[in-house]
């Protein structure tokens, strides 16, 4: 398969759960360029850019004068996003398998999050499940266990919003939460918790891919809760041992954990993003969850929160 086809397939896999005639905004344009040489790969690095995010390798800069977000993730991958104009260009120089995940994930998700933020759709790094139009969010950084918990709750019969990124809007109906049912990326250690997923382990991982991909809502026959009201906010972390412990926390403490969601780009939309996160914390019952290896026990603690 050509590099272009592989990149397109990776992105399509992420987005295929979204409805083709979904809600606005409809004015966003992503352009993917596969550059044949260095000259074609030359998306300009903004001279006045300041760091707004620290990726594991590379840099993410924002130039407030030009209103440009620039991403460079290694020598072969760059993106330039003009959030105000609704445009993002991604350039990949002869990408190999090891670049495909970066190309289809952070290089797409970071510009998408900024484009959405400018249009009043505020991203929150969280998984989510729902019942009866009320959502339970699992907010945290990578490695906090939110995908594992989202999957376990989905398996128990709850509706699905997503496992990694959701969006908030504020309007006449109050604060609303919007689903982004992305492909779920699972480590082999996570798959091991779910016997019904063990067949996934039989297939070799595609080159460059570190995790197994699953359309979780399809696998478990779950409905997608496209829009609902936030009700419960859980901040999970993985702990040794089997037992899980759930403890209520002050919503102010939850807000402190949520502020890292705000990319410090333009001041107006960044303040609006912070306002939405504060409203989320204030509108939710907030908890910390120490997640042990007994996932069914964790589910037994979380499910009643939506009663």
């Amino acid at each position: 398969m050509s590099a272009w086809r592989e990149a397109a397939a990776a992105l399509a896999g992420r987005l295929e759960g979204l409805p083709p005639d979904g809600p606005p905004p409809h004015d966003l344009k992503f352009e993917l360029r596969l550059a044949a040489g260095a000259a074609e790969h030359a998306l300009p690095r903004p001279a006045a850019g300041r760091p707004v995010y620290e990726p594991p390798a590379g840099e993410v800069l924002y130039d407030p004068d030009a209103d440009l977000l620039f991403l460079e993730l290694g020598p072969r991958l760059r993106a330039l996003c003009a959030p105000g104009r609704g445009r993002a260009t991604v350039s990949a120089l002869d990408p190999g398998p090891e670049e495909l995940w970066l190309l289809s994930h952070p290089l797409f998700t970071l510009p998408l999050a900024e484009l959405a933020k400018r249009r009043g759709l505020f991203p929150v790094h969280a998984g989510g499940v729902a019942r009866g139009g009320r959502a339970l969010l699992l907010a945290g950084a990578s490695g906090s266990g939110k995908s594992t918990l989202a999957l376990a709750l989905l398996r128990s019969g709850l509706d699905f919003l997503g496992d990694d990124t959701l969006f908030l809007t504020r309007g006449a109906a109050g604060l609303r939460l919007h689903a982004f049912p992305d492909e779920v990326d699972l480590t082999d250690a996570t798959v091991a918790f779910f016997p019904e997923l063990h067949p996934l382990l039989a297939a070799p991982l595609p080159a460059g891919w570190r995790k197994r991909r699953l359309r979780a809502e399809r696998f478990y026959g779950a409905a997608v809760a496209w829009e609902c009201a936030p009700a419960v906010l859980v901040l999970p972390r993985v702990v040794p041992g089997s037992e899980s412990r759930l403890a209520p926390i002050d919503p102010g403490e939850a807000l402190v954990e949520l502020v890292a969601n705000v990319l410090l780009t333009d001041p107006v939309s960044s303040q609006a993003h912070l306002d939405a996160l504060a409203e989320l914390a204030a509108a939710s019952r907030c908890y910390r969850l120490e997640t042990g290896s007994d996932l069914d026990g964790a589910v037994r603690r979380l499910r009643p929160l939506l009663d």
């Binding site: 707004v52 002050d250 403490e253 402190v256 502020v259 912070l274």
Partner: protein, 95 residues
């Protein structure tokens, strides 16, 4: 710091409050801060119209603690906020 010094908030700093916790996000440094209820109250009082002496007196009136302790804590907080450029010395009236 002279007790007659007036301080004002850096307008570029993003801020929000839930329950007793106020968060500050500084776009210039990329850092964020969490203030407890008392520090958040001092932050709110730094509006450019009050001097440090006024702020200390207000806090001494509002909280049951030794006046010297309150003054020490307020001054240390203000010095930290100035060092982080989250607060600045306000121009004198007429300047």
């Amino acid at each position: 710091m002279d007790p007659r010094t007036r301080l004002e908030r850096n307008e570029r700093v993003l801020t929000q409050q839930v329950a007793g916790t106020r968060v500050l996000l500084d776009p210039d440094s990329g850092r964020y801060y969490a203030l407890d209820e008392i520090s958040g109250r001092v932050w709110d009082l730094c509006d450019g119209s009050r001097d440090i002496g006024d702020i200390v007196t207000t806090l001494q009136d509002e909280y049951e603690a030794e006046p010297e302790t309150v003054e020490h804590d307020v001054r240390r907080f203000l010095a930290d906020m100035l060092a982080e450029r989250l607060l600045a010395v306000a121009a004198a009236p007429g300047e």
